[in-house]
């Protein structure tokens, strides 16, 4: 084999190596994306679970025992759980989830990844702002953020939000 043939062979091998590396990289990227989607679905489900749970509770501490509130000023001004409500299952009203956080690492039923769940609850006024308002209204918004080291190496956050309005009928 002369020098020219040797160079062509080396060039071909380099080309082949580049092709193989690119194919492998694409394959890994696809797999990673698929896995991440799976974790995102799970993150959405966990966030949804918290929101659904919060919605099953009373709108406010003042309405927790089927009390009827006739004035917005009768509602709780300070949002958060009351003393004695240490665990999530002790929460009895919607805004108890304000500043609630949880890591799923201790939950043996979640075997794939660990997620951090953080909640915030705000008063909102549809006529003023859906972000938050400082005064008491009949509308509260819960915002649940779910993060995980498995979601784009911890850089992505799944954020879910829903507004709960106080109503009484019949």
């Amino acid at each position: 084999m002369n020098t020219g043939q040797m160079l062509i062979s080396i060039a071909a091998m380099i080309l082949l190596s580049i092709v193989i590396i690119n194919v492998n990289r694409n394959s890994l990227t696809n797999t990673q994306n698929m896995d991440q989607t799976k974790y995102e679905i799970l993150a959405v489900s966990l966030g949804n679970a918290v929101i659904h749970e919060a919605f099953s509770k009373a709108f406010d501490e003042e309405t927790a025992n089927n009390n009827i509130v006739n004035d917005e000023d009768e509602l709780t001004l300070s949002l958060g759980h009351e003393s004695g409500e240490l665990n999530r299952k002790d929460f009895d009203d919607f805004d108890d989830y304000n500043y609630y956080s949880e890591n799923t690492k201790s939950d043996s039923t979640i075997i794939s990844a660990d997620f951090n769940i953080n909640c915030r609850v705000f008063y909102v006024d549809p006529n003023v702002s859906l972000d938050y308002v400082n005064n008491r209204t009949y509308h509260k918004r819960i915002e649940v953020s779910v993060t995980s080291p498995f979601l784009n190496e911890g850089q992505d956050t799944v954020k879910l939000s829903k507004i709960n309005s106080h109503f009484y009928f019949r």
Partner: protein
């Protein structure tokens, strides 16, 4: 033909063979990955389909277009076990008109067994059918690769209800649904259940669902 030429031919054949082997392996790997990714996507979309259906129906527990016909939504859940549930609702008139017709319907969900004849032919030995029945109509069923469908029930205090009352109201305020979906027929199947498939890709989703009708506060 000289000896060096023979060596050249043998050497180039060897190198060419190795390159061919690499290309075959690469092709095989690409095909496998393509199947695995497709399988993953099927599993994920199947799971979402199941969840969408369950969320749609379960959040309407105790709902009736004519609300006088279910005066006490707390009695809407008629029967509840860890793999089945039966409740009063008002099933949507059709896909376009999602409100009910004003008549109370009984909607029942339950899960079949992995040994049922409907799933006996699938390569996955663990998949089972999720049934949905409206009143006494023929149950509708779809094999979306469901391998787990567990229900847990919680009372007003958030405590799990282990023993159901014999008749409504059952005291259920929220329920938790655990769903696992696997591929019914995936790439690289094996007879051994433990190594059933490379893209077994089972994952579950948990919802603590609270139907608005069950807790009016």
């Amino acid at each position: 033909m000289g000896f060096s030429t023979l060596i050249d031919i043998l050497g180039s054949s060897l190198v060419g063979g190795l390159i061919l082997l690499i290309l075959f392996r690469m092709n095989d790997s690409t095909v496998e990955n393509s199947y695995l990714n497709s399988g993953e996507m099927i599993v994920q979309s199947n799971l979402l389909s199941i969840i969408e259906l369950l969320e749609h129906d379960f959040r309407k527990i105790g709902y009736c277009e004519d609300y006088d016909k279910i005066p006490n939504p707390a009695t809407a859940i008629i029967e509840a076990t860890d793999t089945s549930i039966s409740f009063k609702t008002d099933v949507a008139i059709d896909e376009d008109v999602q409100t009910g017709d004003g008549n109370v319907d009984i909607l029942k969900y339950w899960v079949g067994s992995p040994t049922d004849s409907e799933v006996a032919g699938t390569p996955n030995p663990k998949d089972r059918i999720l049934y949905r029945q409206v009143n006494s109509e023929t149950p509708l069923a779809a094999n979306l690769g469901l391998t787990q469908f567990n229900l847990k029930y919680f009372d007003d205090d958030g405590e799990e209800i282990h023993t159901m009352p014999s008749a409504p109201p059952l005291g259920i305020i929220t329920l938790q649904i655990d769903v696992t979906v696997e591929n019914t027929a995936s790439y690289g199947d094996a007879a051994d259940e433990d190594v059933y498939s490379k893209d077994k890709s089972a994952f579950w989703r948990q919802i603590r669902l609270s139907a608005p009708g069950l807790s009016i506060r």
